[in-house]
Amino acid sequence: MMAQEVLLDCLGEACPVPLVKTEKKLTTLAVGDILVVQIDHSCAMKNIPEWARKEGHNVEIEEVDDGEWEVIIEKVK
């Protein structure tokens, strides 16, 4: 089965809502799936990647616009 890519819209949500949503969403995905979390709260840019990396997932951050980021998480386990 193809790995799927899921978009999670957290624009306008303040910490820690994006992190909690990411945690919940990631448990519903399969290994190899990719979750793209859209955020515009700067502190979510720190705590989501930190959490995901400590959980052992692959993470990338991209600033798609001024003050708007996408955290790309590849679920590896």
Partner: protein, 232 residues
């Protein structure tokens, strides 16, 4: 950042493939605005210094504090929330280190005044402690997690332009005004009932620093152990 993506991971390949087509708007160069703002800040600082040197120093410290807070993503809310939420204690430990540094520095300032025979600065901030302290701290904790930031964090994010926190700031001001208006009553009824404790009066100057640093070190070790246990 670097440890994960030494080799291009599938995530990077897919994301770049996906992203090019979707939404990259050409980003506006913000550096001219930054320079203009910096010049404005300098000019205002010079103006304030002309009015009063103290105001100039307040302005300078405030600007530096805001800059460091924003760039370091130092968040007092997260330092207390993340251990419970994710098990991460990196910010908690950062706050503990900051406490340790300020404990030493403030003791130095106070001790310097004490041996010089001068009045010790900042003694008005030695507030009485009682159950009111704990209840107030608990309420503040609930509030700051819901609002997404403590006082400094909220101000910093308003400066970043995060819309929801304009709302936090508005009610932060409303609450502060109400609190200031009724503070006399709270002070007489609850706050002044507690004892005022200034640690050097009890342990001596060296003992006070040692006791405080010991408690901080203990919390640091606990925070480290907690993170290892939760995130292993």
């Amino acid at each position: 950042m670097s440890e994960v993506n030494v080799t291009p991971s599938p995530a990077s390949r897919i994301s770049t493939g996906r992203r090019t087509g979707t939404r990259r708007k050409p980003k506006k160069n913000q550096i001219p605005y930054g320079i203009a703002l910096f010049v404005g800040m300098l000019a205002f600082g010079i103006y304030l210094t002309a009015v009063s040197a103290r105001l100039g120093i307040f302005w300078l410290i405030g600007c530096c504090f805001g800059f460091i807070l924003q760039k370091s993503r130092f968040c007092f809310t997260a330092s207390l929330r993340d251990p419970a939420l994710t098990g991460s204690t990196s910010l908690s430990r950062a706050v503990l280190i900051a406490f340790a540094v300020t404990s030493i520095a403030f003791t130095a300032v106070k001790y310097g005044a004490h041996i010089g025979g001068l009045p010790i600065p900042g003694q008005g901030s030695v507030a009485p402690i009682s159950l009111a302290t704990a209840v107030g701290a608990f309420l503040f904790g609930i509030g700051m997690v819901i609002a997404g930031g403590c006082a400094s964090g909220t101000l910093m994010r308003v400066g970043e332009g995060f819309g929801m926190q304009f709302l936090s700031l508005f009610f932060f001001i409303v609450g502060s005004l109400l609190g200031a208006h009724n503070f006399g009553w709270w002070k007489i009824t609850f706050i002044d009932k507690g004892p005022r404790i200034f640690l050097p009066d009890i342990f001596g100057w060296v003992g006070a620093v040692a006791a405080q640093l010991l408690v901080i070190a203990l919390l640091y070790v606990l925070a480290d152990k907690w993170e290892n246990k939760k995130l292993g």
